[in-house]
Symmetry: C2
Subunit: 214 residues, 2 copies
């Protein structure tokens, strides 16, 4: 048995959105992961500091078992990219699970896959997600197993989602083995990882940084 | 002010070791991150599924402010690579912080930077780390601020370390802002992220996977 997972990449993607789930999934010998996109070759993360290679085009992998759509500034133009939307709609017809991290859910929503479903995204993108026909909820991972759709919240939440995905695809021991291999025993030094927990000065700083960083 | 952080990459690196800290550090407008290595261009992660670009050579960046050395199967050959060891020793003379994630600490140790210090690494590499002259301890992040050295445990621990690094380099609000931006409010679906927490069947599965995955 070999499970084919694909992670679409595009200009100005958010690195951890894709690499977090990649790191979990690739720990399982039965899962192969391929980075795909409009073309083969390099794309750059949001600020351009990181280049990652796409090894196949969307059309090269029309029927993957698992789709993990990452987000980033660059996911918004994909909401009107018919090539991407047609691909994800068709791929979802036969996928075992179609998933997203962060603003990757905006692409699933724009493709019509979240119509009438609860879903999540980065805390800064709830309104846009709602505009696609989804009902945004602030959970870290939102599962619709009958619809084979799972969405995760911002950036780092893809690690949590991918562990659950391994449980669904293989079994719980496999998921726990992946967790142990990546030593995922998180000990954040602060408690500011959610909108509810972060104080006003932290939110103010996020605003400042958003205007400074291109 | 601009802080220059470098992340060395090499064949068969562990992706999340480098990308976790990258995602945190690059959120701060005053921090520039450059991926470096023996040459410019692409290197591949452990199983070859992921290609990442190195934008500069070691010699191009002799005096970075921050070094984050990731690990992976490919870090062990670096323990006898004089080009890498000479670079990291020289770079550490002027760095603000020299840090590692996972088996990246084996390289710092082989360079003599951990002599007589407590340090950490992936749980599977404690004996090798001890062989370099360090005293392994099972903490998630081990700081020696006077020596300007910080080591982190396996793979995902680099995210925790990088948040602390931002606090040290900028201030606590900056670190919390980065945490909020990447929505780092971890909710692992299982409790198997440490050797202490994982059950025997999980450890057995890790062994099986280690022999199956090249």
């Amino acid at each position: 048995m070999s499970i084919q997972a694909v992670i679409p990449l595009f200009d100005r993607f958010t690195a951890l959105d894709g690499i977090g789930p990649y790191e979990v999934l690739q720990r399982i010998p039965d899962i192969d992961v391929t980075f795909i996109g409009h073309g083969r070759g390099e794309v750059r993360s949001e600020n351009g500091f990181l280049g990652v290679t796409r090894d196949a085009t969307f059309e090269d992998v029309p029927r993957p078992d698992v789709i993990v759509f990452p987000g980033g500034v660059g996911s918004r133009p994909l909401m009107t990219d018919t090539r991407v939307l047609d691909w994800v709609r068709a791929a979802h017809e036969t996928s075992t699970f179609t998933t997203s991290v962060c603003t990757g859910s905006l692409v699933l929503g724009a493709a019509g896959l979240l119509d009438g479903l609860t879903a999540t995204t980065h805390w800064g993108a709830f309104e846009t997600l709602e505009g696609t026909g989804a009902t945004p909820v602030p959970d870290r991972v939102v599962e619709h197993l009958d619809d084979r759709i799972i969405t995760a919240a911002g950036v780092s939440s893809g690690i949590d989602m991918a562990l659950r995905l391994v449980e669904l695809l293989i079994d719980r021991t496999a998921a726990e083995a992946a967790q142990l291999m990546i030593e995922y025993d998180p000990q954040p030094p602060f408690d500011a990882g959610s909108v509810e927990a972060a104080g006003p000065e932290v939110k103010q700083r996020v605003q400042e940084y958003a205007t400074q960083r291109k």
